[in-house]
Amino acid sequence: MSEARLFKPRFNPAKPAFGILVFLLYLFLLAPLLIVFVVSFASNQYLSFPPEGLTFKWYEMLPEESTFMNGMRVSLIVAVIVTVIVLALGVPVALALDRFEFKAKAAVQSFFLSPLLIPSIVLALGMVLLFGPLNLNNTYTGIIIGHVAITIPFVIRTTLMSLATTDTSCEAAARILGAGSWTVFRRITLPIIQPGVIAGGVIAFIVSFDEAVISLFVAESGLPTLPVQVLRYVENSADAAVAALSVILILISLAVVVVVERAMGLRKALR
């Protein structure tokens, strides 16, 4: 009995204190998202605290706010096309990197991950300069080309991740049994890499959908995306209409988070 007591940890005041600290830091981390939620339901005409009452008027205003609706349309079109393109380009690259041996492999891999290392403002400037003489500024083509560079690393990384966790014996077996390359890919490889492809696809979608800097440089005047419209609105107005829109954007992000978490784990996908 006395021995058991010897090893029983004493009450340690540092433990709950640490717990409270971590809780407060989580609160800090989520503060801007939580506050947007509160403001979007507050009836105050201008941004102020405390909320005076509950209202849905900011949400009801959204469909009539044509700048937001147009921006939403542009962003959705861009994000869907970008997702399709980077999946079509990125998944084969990941396959080549994992399933084949070739000399410049390490270099090719760093090349495909390098857009994440370049500040997006620098890329954005390069694009607006290059697109000028090509008449691609303020076009869908311009924004889409711009977004391909910054989303392709995510697709390659998540696909590589699911390829790395599986061995090649299934594919080899299918081949020995006489399946052609396409059949092996369709019936064996694709189901194996599906989680990585899904995670990479939805991450590419949300990165493109939320991207503001490249869109701002390339298409601010002629084809503003939703983040660009929000940016402009926030700079000029003080009401809470943009809070309601922000809540919707946060919910879309949340859906993406849930899909990625289910498919392969958020931490693995974003590492």
Binding site: A96, R99, V108, L123, L266
Partner: protein, 306 residues
């Protein structure tokens, strides 16, 4: 494992002429992986290499503030930012902001990362997801959230005013204070992610061992926990630093025009003054700064690791 390796034993069993089969699969392999790689490579060349190369070339042109560009090869665009005290100020402010945000971000992320790395809770996965999920939310939205919190009529000022603690609202937006607070929060998920991955050698067993050998809580922390988590802390600091010095949205919105860093300067030169060669030169300077820091970091991690 490669396809060639897995196919070879099968070929042996089938009694085929090994060498020839190797050769033919080798050639087919080459064709296959090239077919897989080339579309992606082309895509990235068009959307990534061309813009950057064009920008670097542009930085050697001569530009007038009204958008006229003279095709030439000059270093004029570099001489101005490197000699004008204003641009030294901007570069220095950018650097200082990066260091401040990096340090504060590491400070607030460390307890969370430590908690997540040690946690044995069944909600650990969920807590990790919550900590890094903000990465996938719009930077514009999160910056807007901070404007609501820190603004003149924002949460902080209204609360302090309501409690009678202040007479005039604190100036927390349209200055570096606001930008710093916003950036620290926005980059926290990156820091937490980098730290958890960098805490590989940290284990509760080691800390317990130190404790049972008589080390005090403080000694365990300074002698075991902190040294072992140092690589993760360093990576997180560096990541946040490079992200901060190149970020645009938050300095633009929370800085409200009175915070000038390299990114906002590049934007103003591009869209306001239409001085493209100059904006390109500033971008190249930012890239060089980036490269230098990453090189120093790699040196450092090699030293720590060895």
């Amino acid at each position: 494992m490669t396809v060639t390796q897995t196919e070879a034993p099968a070929a042996r069993r089938a009694g085929a002429a090994e060498g020839e089969l190797e050769k033919s699969t080798g050639r087919r392999n080459r064709r296959t992986y090239l077919a897989l790689l080339i579309p992606g490579v082309l895509g990235l060349v068009v959307s990534f290499v061309f813009p950057l190369a064009y920008m670097v070339r542009m930085s050697f042109n001569k530009g007038a503030p009204d958008g006229v560009i003279e095709e030439t090869f000059t270093l004029d665009t570099y001489i101005q930012p490197l000699t004008d005290p204003y641009y030294w100020r901007v570069t220095l402010d950018t650097f200082q902001m990066g260091v401040t945000v990096g340090l504060l971000c590491v400070l607030v992320s460390y307890p969370v990362a430590l908690f997540l790395a040690r946690s044995t809770s069944k909600y650990r996965g969920l807590l990790i997801a919550v900590a890094i999920a903000p990465l996938l939310t719009s930077a514009v939205v999160r910056t807007y959230g901070w404007m609501v919190i820190l603004g003149t009529n924002g949460l902080v000022n209204s609360t302090l005013d309501g409690m009678g603690l202040i007479d005039t609202p604190l100036k927390l937006t349209n200055n570096m204070t606001g930008v710093t607070i916003g950036l620290v929060e926005i980059f926290m998920p990156y820091a937490i992610l980098a730290m958890i991955s960098g805490f590989g050698r940290l284990s509760p067993q080691l800390e317990e061992a130190a404790g049972s050998l008589g080390a005090s809580k403080l000694q365990i922390f300074t002698r075991v926990t902190l040294p072992l988590s140092l690589p993760g802390i360093l990576t997180a600091f560096l990541l946040v630093f490079v992200l901060s010095i190149s970020t645009f949205i938050t300095p633009r919105l929370l800085g409200g025009g009175s915070v000038q860093v390299l990114a906002t300067e590049i934007y103003d030169q591009t869209t306001g003054l239409l001085n493209w060669p100059f904006a390109a030169a500033l971008s190249v300077i930012l890239l060089v700064l980036f490269g230098l820091i990453i090189a120093v970091y790699q040196r450092l991690t090699k030293k720590i690791g060895g």
